[in-house]
C-alpha cells in the first residue's frame, strides 16, 4: 500500500511536469523547424522532438522582419530605469513609514494601502486620458510646452515607478531591523537620510531583490499599456513586436515560435538563477492578506 502510494505520487508528479512543460517544449522545438514540418509534426510525439530539418532559419527570419535588437534595448531601458527609480523611491517611502513619526503619517499610510487592491485595469483608461492631455515641457534649444505624453520612454516608465506593494515590502523589511541600530546613529548625529543610506539600505538586500523582481518582470512583459501609448516604432518594447507577426497569420508559425522563444528564454534564465527571490516575493506578498 505504501509503495503503491509512493509510486502513484511520482506518477502524478511526472504527469504534471509534462502537463506544465509541454507548450514551452513545443515552442522551443518548433522554433527550429520549417513551417511545413512544424505543421506536419503537430499531433504526434515528433512535435516535441527536434527532428527533421533543424535550423536557425526562423530566428534569422525574425531578425530580418523586425528591428529585434532595438525592441530588446527599448524593453531593457524601460524595465531597468523603472526598476532602479522604483527601488529608490519606494524604499525611501518604506523607510519613512517604518521609522519616522510625523503628523499625517496615518492618512498617508491609508492612501498607500488602499491602492494595494486596485488592479491596473481600473486606472488604465483614465490614465491614458491624463497622459494624452498632460502638458509636457520639452527642450530643444528653446523650451516648448506641448500637450500629451506618448510615443516615448517616459510614458512607459513614470506611471509604474511608485508601487504600493514595493513600499509595503520595504516597510515590512525595515521594521524587522533592530531599532538600536539607528538610535545609536542618531546619537552620533546622523541624519535620517544618512541612516537610510548607510544603515538601512545596505541591510535590505533580500527586500531589494524581491522588489527588483516584482518590478522588472511585469515591465519586461508589459503589453497593453505600450500598445495604447506607443505608436512610434523607435520606442516600441519587445512584447508589442509580436504584432508584426499578426499580418501573415497562419503562415509564419515557425518565426512566431522563434520570437516567443526569444522573449521567454531570458525570463526563464532570470527565474532559475534568482528563484529564491521569486519565491520570496510571492511568500511575502502572501503575508499581507
Amino acid at each position: 500500500m505504501r509503495t503503491f502510494l509512493k509510486v502513484s505520487k511520482y506518477f502524478a508528479a511526472i504527469f504534471l511536469a509534462i502537463f506544465f512543460a509541454f507548450p514551452l517544449v513545443f515552442m522551443v522545438v518548433s522554433s527550429l523547424k520549417p513551417d511545413f514540418n512544424l505543421l506536419q509534426d503537430t499531433g504526434s510525439y515528433r512535435a516535441f522532438l527536434p527532428v527533421g530539418p533543424i535550423s536557425f532559419d526562423n530566428y534569422q527570419g525574425v531578425f530580418d522582419r523586425i528591428p529585434f535588437f532595438m525592441f530588446v534595448m527599448n524593453s531593457l531601458i524601460v524595465a531597468t530605469i523603472t526598476t532602479v527609480l522604483g527601488l529608490i523611491v519606494n524604499s525611501m517611502m518604506g523607510f519613512v513609514l517604518a521609522r519616522m513619526s510625523f503628523r499625517g503619517k496615518n492618512p498617508i499610510f491609508a492612501i498607500i494601502i488602499s491602492t494595494l487592491i486596485l488592479p491596473f485595469e481600473v486606472m488604465a483608461i483614465p490614465l491614458l486620458y491624463l497622459m494624452v492631455n498632460l502638458p509636457v515641457i520639452s527642450f530643444d534649444g528653446g523650451f516648448h510646452i506641448t500637450k500629451g505624453l506618448f510615443n516615448n520612454y517616459q510614458v512607459q516608465i513614470i506611471p509604474f515607478i511608485a508601487s504600493a506593494v514595493s513600499i509595503f515590502l520595504f516597510m515590512q523589511y525595515f521594521k524587522t531591523l533592530p531599532k538600536e541600530l539607528d538610535e545609536a546613529a542618531r546619537v552620533d548625529g546622523a541624519s535620517w537620510f544618512m541612516i537610510y543610506r548607510k544603515i538601512a539600505m545596505p541591510l535590505a538586500g533580500p527586500a531589494i531583490g524581491t522588489v527588483a523582481i516584482l518590478t522588472f518582470l511585469p515591465m519586461w512583459n508589459s503589453y497593453i499599456w505600450p500598445v495604447m501609448t506607443v505608436q512610434d516604432e523607435r520606442y516600441r518594447p519587445i512584447m508589442v513586436g509580436l504584432q508584426y507577426f499578426y499580418v501573415n497569420f497562419g503562415t509564419a508559425w515557425g518565426q512566431i515560435m522563434a520570437y516567443l522563444t526569444l522573449l521567454t528564454i531570458p525570463v526563464v534564465i532570470l527565474f532559475l538563477s534568482m528563484q529564491r527571490f521569486f519565491v520570496n516575493s510571492i511568500a511575502t506578498t502572501g503575508v499581507k492578506g
Binding site: 502524478a12 487592491i117 483608461i125 490614465l127 522573449l263 521567454t264 528563484q275
Partner: protein, 343 residues
C-alpha cells in the same frame, strides 16, 4: 515623499479623474472639451427595459406568418428609434425574445442599452466562479505534492511554476496554436480517435470561454501553489508529531492539522484569485478579442474596447467604475472574513 507624489499622481489621480470622467462624454483625441452628462453613461450601461410586441395582422384579422409558419411581429425599430412613442426604449437593442403567446399574438422582448456590457458582466462572473474553486483547489493539491517527501520536489516545483513567470502574451500565442483548427489539440485527438471532427475551440461560442478558462488556470496555478506552500510551512511540525503520536490517519492529519492551519492562506488565495479573475483581459484580447459574438468579452475588455478602441473615454471609465465597484465589494468581503477568523 517622491513616492507619495507618484502614487497620488499615477494611482489616486487617475482613479479620481476616472470617476469624474465616467460622468462626461469625454473622447480620447477630441478638440472639444468633455461635457458633463450626468448619469447618462450609467443609464446607457445599466439600462434595461421590456416591451410587448403585437403580431402583424392580415386584413381578415389573422396573424401574418413568414415562410416557416412563424408569426410576424411589429418592427422593434419603430420603438427604439429617435422620437418614438416609447422614450424608455430609444437607443436600446434587443437582447432576447421570450413569452410568446401564439393565441393572443404577443411576444415580450428584453432590451438593454448595451447588451455587450451585460454579456461581459455575466462572462466575467462566470469565469471567476469557475476559476476560483478549480484553481485554488488544484494549487493546494500541487502544494501538498511538492511539500511531501518526494525526491526531486524542487525540480517539480520549478516546472510547475515556470508558466507563471512567462508572459501572458507569449502563453496566449502558444495556446492559440494549440487550440486552432489544425493545432496541437485537435490533431492529437484525431490521432487517437479517427472519427473525431476537429473543433475550432476559439471560434465556437460554446467552447471559447472554456478554452480560455483552461489556459488561464494552467498559467496561474503555480503562483498559488507557492502561496499555499508558504502557508503549509508555517504550520508547526510539532503539531504533526503530536497527532502522529495519537495514531491519526493521513486524512485526520490533513483535516485537523493542515486545513485549520491554512485558514489565513485560504482567504488570501480566495481574494487574489477572485480579483485576478475579475480582471481577465489579456488572454481574451489575444485569443478571441471578445468573440465569437461576445461569448468571451469581459468587463475590462469592454472598458478597453469602448475607452480605447472607440475612444469613448467617458463611457469606458464608467465601465471601469463598475469593475472597480466589484473589486471593492470583494475586498470588503475579505475584511469581514478575516475578522471573523480572528475572533
Amino acid at each position: 515623499m517622491p513616492a507619495l507624489a507618484l502614487i497620488v499622481g499615477f494611482i489616486v489621480l487617475p482613479v479620481t479623474v476616472g470617476l469624474g470622467l465616467a460622468f462626461t462624454n469625454a473622447q480620447l483625441l477630441s478638440p472639444t472639451a468633455p461635457a458633463f452628462t450626468g448619469l447618462s453613461n450609467f443609464s446607457t450601461l445599466l439600462g434595461v427595459a421590456t416591451t410587448t410586441l403585437n403580431a402583424e395582422k392580415n386584413p381578415d384579422g389573422t396573424f401574418v406568418k413568414d415562410e416557416n409558419g412563424e408569426i410576424v411581429y411589429e418592427n422593434l425599430r419603430d420603438r427604439t428609434r429617435e422620437g418614438s412613442k416609447y422614450p424608455n426604449l430609444v437607443g436600446k437593442s434587443e437582447v432576447k425574445r421570450f413569452g410568446e403567446d401564439k393565441a393572443e399574438g404577443t411576444i415580450k422582448i428584453l432590451l438593454a442599452g448595451d447588451p455587450s456590457f451585460w454579456r461581459s458582466l455575466t462572462n466575467t462572473i462566470f469565469f471567476a466562479l469557475v476559476v476560483v474553486p478549480i484553481q485554488g483547489g488544484f494549487a493546494l493539491l500541487l502544494a501538498l505534492l511538492v511539500n511531501s517527501k518526494l525526491k526531486g520536489r524542487n525540480f517539480f516545483r520549478t516546472i510547475y511554476f515556470i508558466p507563471t513567470v512567462t508572459s501572458m502574451v507569449v502563453i496566449s500565442m502558444l495556446w492559440r496554436f494549440i487550440y486552432q483548427n489544425d493545432g496541437l489539440l485537435n490533431k492529437s485527438i484525431s490521432n487517437v480517435d479517427s472519427e473525431y471532427q476537429p473543433i475550432d475551440w476559439l471560434s465556437n461560442p460554446k467552447t471559447a470561454m472554456y478554452a480560455i478558462i483552461f489556459m488561464s488556470i494552467w498559467q496561474a496555478v503555480g503562483y498559488h501553489m507557492i502561496i499555499w506552500l508558504g502557508g503549509l510551512q508555517t504550520i508547526p511540525a510539532e503539531l504533526y508529531e503530536a497527532v502522529r503520536m495519537d495514531g491519526a490517519s493521513a486524512w485526520h492529519e490533513f483535516r485537523y492539522v493542515t486545513l485549520p492551519g491554512l485558514r489565513h492562506t485560504f482567504i488570501f488565495i480566495l481574494i487574489t484569485i477572485t480579483i485576478a479573475a475579475l480582471g481577465l483581459f489579456i488572454q481574451v484580447s489575444i485569443l478571441t478579442n471578445g468573440g465569437p459574438l461576445d461569448a468571451t468579452t469581459t468587463l475590462v475588455h469592454q472598458a478597453f474596447t469602448k475607452g480605447y478602441g472607440r475612444q469613448q473615454i467617458g463611457y469606458g471609465s464608467a465601465i471601469s467604475f463598475v469593475f472597480f465597484a466589484l473589486v471593492l465589494i470583494i475586498s470588503l468581503i475579505q475584511r469581514v472574513l478575516t475578522r471573523k477568523l480572528e475572533d
